[in-house]
């Protein structure tokens, strides 16, 4: 199983404490622009700083594979665009993101090129399938994530009730 992840997805996964588990069952790729974004986030004065530092350790030890990929620099969402370009060049069919705005702008093009956009919930589903976590644990992790999200949290809450109970 392979996927490209942008900064929003990596931060969400590490926040839920499942990035390590994911790296045991899948090959996760990211781009140099995401790496730069994460380095910038390490300078913030909040909990994201520590989370970004832990992700960068995974990048530096090669567990998260970082590949330089250039997409359309004029795109509104340069970082996700680079991730999309990496999906195409490396023939990776899944792009993990929590960035609803960027995903919206990329949506149609991704569908045309056969790249499936997924949120970090897809990772929890795979971890349940592989027996790494149970449904209750996944639900607890999602509950924590929901609190951190903007309007997306409301959608996750409704779907979690539908799929994880």
């Amino acid at each position: 199983m392979k996927a490209v992840a942008d900064a929003s997805a990596l931060l969400s996964l590490e926040y839920m404490g499942v990035l390590d588990d994911l790296l045991n069952i899948a090959d996760i790729y990211t781009t140099e622009s995401v790496n730069e974004e994460l380095k910038e986030i390490t300078c913030f004065r909040d909990e994201r700083s520590g989370i970004a530092k832990r992700i960068l350790l995974h990048v530096s030890d090669g567990k998260v594979k970082c590949i330089d990929s250039k997409g359309d620099m004029h795109s509104k969402n340069i970082s996700l665009n680079h991730c999309f370009a990496l999906c195409l060049s490396a023939k990776i069919h899944f792009l993990l993101t929590e960035d609803a705005d960027a995903a919206y702008y990329l949506g149609r093009m991704a569908a045309q090129k056969g790249v499936k956009l997924r949120t970090s919930t897809a990772v929890l589903v795979e971890l349940i399938k592989s027996g790494n976590i149970n449904t209750q644990s996944a639900r607890r992790k999602l509950d924590e994530l929901m609190k951190k999200r903007s309007w997306e949290g409301g959608i996750i809450e409704v779907l979690a009730r539908r799929y994880l109970e």
Binding site: A3, A100, T121, W151, I155
Partner: protein
């Protein structure tokens, strides 16, 4: 109190900023400051309304047309698109 922010932008956008600054007789920094303030304020105001509407839409208590009426076409399309991605993620995982 203010804090300095630095950021990179591509040449084309910088040219547009400079063109706007020339027409408005403002500095490049002032144009960027206004754009950032406007964006951040609008986003934060919208988020509160969007939170409630998105949840109602996901619950099936609002139609897409009603969602459009409440938060506008573009934001409604974003919510609907995110709901589709999130639902695929729950239902299919990475398969």
């Amino acid at each position: 109190m203010s804090e300095m922010l630095t950021f990179r932008e591509d040449d084309e956008t910088i040219k547009k900023i400079d063109e706007l600054a020339r027409q408005k007789m403002r500095s490049r920094s002032e144009i960027v400051r206004m754009a950032v303030r406007d964006y951040v304020n609008r986003k934060l105001e919208l988020i509160e309304i969007q939170k409630l509407a998105a949840k109602r839409y996901a619950e099936g208590k609002l139609s897409i047309d009603e969602l459009v009426e409440i938060i506008g076409f573009n934001e409604a399309k974003k919510v609907a698109h995110y709901k589709d991605i999130a639902e695929s993620s729950f239902a299919q995982g990475m398969s």
